[in-house]
């Protein structure tokens, strides 16, 4: 059998949705963050698959994109964890479902 672009995209899509589910369901901020990172990974996978598939006139763009996504992801993670720590310091918890001071 032959592997086609769709195979990789499918994996990407599944990974993305899995990450989404995790991000939406986890109680712990760090847990949510993991989901988000998985989503980004899925995006990266998709991008690379595209740039490799030969669809792209300029495959390099995909790679560049991924490089930036990875960078941003790192920054985001750093900030996220920092905020988590700040929250923890204030509230002695990082369980975001307990963060509901703000409503009504």
């Amino acid at each position: 059998m032959t592997l086609t672009l769709e195979h990789f995209l499918t994996v990407g899509a599944l990974l993305f949705c899995l990450g989404l589910v995790i991000a939406l369901s986890k109680r712990n901020a760090v847990g949510m963050l993991m989901g988000i990172e998985l989503m980004l990974n899925a995006v990266n996978l998709t991008l690379i698959a595209f740039s490799r598939s030969g669809v792209s006139a300029e495959p390099i763009a995909g790679h560049a994109f991924v490089a930036f996504v990875i960078t941003v992801a790192a920054a985001e993670a750093a900030v996220a964890l920092a905020l988590a720590v700040a929250v923890y310091r204030n509230r002695q918890t990082v369980e975001v479902d307990q963060l509901d001071l703000l409503k009504l």
Partner: protein, 486 residues
């Protein structure tokens, strides 16, 4: 070198950010100078932009990934204005908060640089990076306050923002995969070539983009974070969020959707979606705002409703033909007017709340007695938000409605006008509290010069553009004109 010249304004601001940090490190005793240093950077950016206006040879750079055109210039001015006002308005709060002031200003400047980049970005990668450059500092700023609410707002904002940008990225990836290019022009070309047969993909990609930017615009159903974050974040930051990222999001959506996804068969779809989202946002935002007791939360909901009004313009743009300029310029006008108005409102809230230590509308009763200037300014801004003449807000609404009507979106405009009735109700309710309510405590509130200055500027803008909107309108039209040619 010319390429650096093109991004000069952003560079100026970033340099200022650096300078602020260095200054704080070297002369920790001269903290008072920090905000003015930051303002100098903003001024520099504005001046630099002006030189471009004078030079007038607008061009794209970096292999077409970035453009400096009237559109970008317009927004650079808007963002410069926003940043300046926010910085001035922050001074008091920052001093009281006591945290490292330099970082605060540095982050605000960085974020505004990101916004400015967004205005000119014409390439998916650049757009994404600029977006993040503006977002991440805002996440941090939202969590800047010492209290629990602030950090809670920060982390909520960040997590949701991250999810949104992941969706956005996936959409971008799909677009890239389809067109093989990250340049808007390239995407447009590919769509023109064989877009029609792959509509499903394009639609999903579009929707993902809408989700990503809709989050920043704060439109239903991507808006739920808004009230929480506005309420929790430090008020100056909330002010910054409410106008800065919203405006930027609209700027980039206009460029992206019009230059990249402007193809007829596609634009009909997203125009329809924009129209629906506009209607829903307005209605939901207004209805929810009615019952709010916390003024910042109320402003949050109102900003959702306002986003709905912006969107009428977007929906109108998509109708090709000579009228779309009207829609585009309508959005721009609205962005500018809204920036002044909403900033004014938030700053007034800063001025009042910092003294009475409460954001409850009920506590604003009788403000007219205790702080005439603040009350009057706030009243003006609220009236302008309600879109009642003679204020900038009225012209913005008028212009957008006009665009909507010309784009055969009469039903939407009717929804909008009815909504403006509802909004008039809760805006005026606040005004009523301030002017007719029984004052709680007779002590007159002091108005710090900086807040006064910022508020004065904003309110003046509201009134001046309310009486002579022509220059603003002109600018908006020139800025929008690029789409006519493009």
């Amino acid at each position: 070198m010319s390429e650096l010249d093109i991004v000069g304004p952003q560079i100026a601001i970033l340099l200022a950010a650096g300078a602020v940090l260095v200054w704080d490190a070297l002369l920790p005793k001269q903290r008072a100078a920090l905000p003015w240093l930051a303002l100098a950077g903003v001024a520099g950016a504005a001046i630099w932009t002006t030189t471009w206006v004078v030079r007038g040879d607008f061009q794209t750079a970096f292999d077409g990934t970035f453009a400096l055109d009237q559109f970008a210039v317009f927004f650079q001015y808007v963002f410069a204005g926003i940043t300046a006002i926010v910085i001035i308005a922050s001074i008091d709060w920052v001093e009281r908060e006591g945290r490292r002031q330099s970082e605060y200003y540095a982050l605000v400047l960085t974020a505004s640089a990101g916004l400015m980049f967004l205005a000119g970005a014409r390439d998916l990668i650049t757009i994404f990076l600029a977006l993040e450059l503006s977002s991440i500092p805002q996440y941090i700023l939202a969590g800047w306050g010492k209290n629990q609410r602030s950090s809670e707002a920060g982390i909520k904002y960040l997590l949701l923002g991250a999810i949104a940008s992941a969706l956005l990225l996936y959409g971008m990836a799909l677009l890239y995969g389809f067109s093989g290019s990250t340049l808007l022009t390239g995407i447009a070309a590919a769509i023109g070539e064989n877009g029609a047969e792959n509509r499903s993909l394009l639609i999903v990609a579009t929707v993902l983009l809408i989700a990503g930017f809709g989050f920043k615009m704060a439109v239903v159903p991507f808006q739920m974070w808004v009230p929480d974050v506005y309420q929790g974040a430090p008020t100056p930051v909330a002010a910054f969020l409410s106008v800065g990222s919203k405006a930027a999001a609209f700027a980039v959506v206009m460029r992206l959707f019009f230059e990249g996804l402007g193809e007829e068969f596609l634009s009909n779809d997203w125009a329809m979606i924009f129209a629906v989202i506009a209607a829903v946002s307005m209605t939901l935002g207004n209805v929810l705002a009615i019952a709010q007791r916390d003024i910042k939360r109320m402003l949050g909901y109102s900003s959702i409703a306002q986003a709905g009004n912006f969107m009428i313009g977007l929906a109108a743009i998509s109708i090709a033909g000579e009228h779309f300029v009207l829609g585009a310029s309508g959005v721009l006008l609205f962005v500018a007017a809204y920036a002044f108005t909403n900033l004014g409102a938030f700053i007034a809230v800063i001025g009042i709340s910092q003294h009475i230590g409460s954001d409850r509308i009920a506590d604003y009763a009788g403000m007219w007695r205790r702080a005439p200037f603040l009350a009057l300014a706030l009243a003006f801004c609220l009236v302008s938000l309600a879109g009642i003449p003679p204020t900038a807000g009225f012209w913005a609404k008028l212009y957008v409605f006009n665009a909507g009507i010309r784009a055969d979106l009469v039903w939407l405009v009717i929804v909008a006008v009815l909504n403006s009735v509802v909004s008039a109700y809760y805006y005026l309710a606040v005004v009523r509290q301030m002017f007719l309510g029984e004052a709680r405590g007779e002590a007159r509130l002091p108005v710090s010069p900086t807040v006064g200055l910022a508020l004065g500027v904003a309110t003046l803008g509201v009134i001046v553009f309310g009486i002579v909107p022509t220059p603003l309108v002109e600018a908006a039209r020139e800025a929008a004109a690029i789409f006519a040619t493009g």
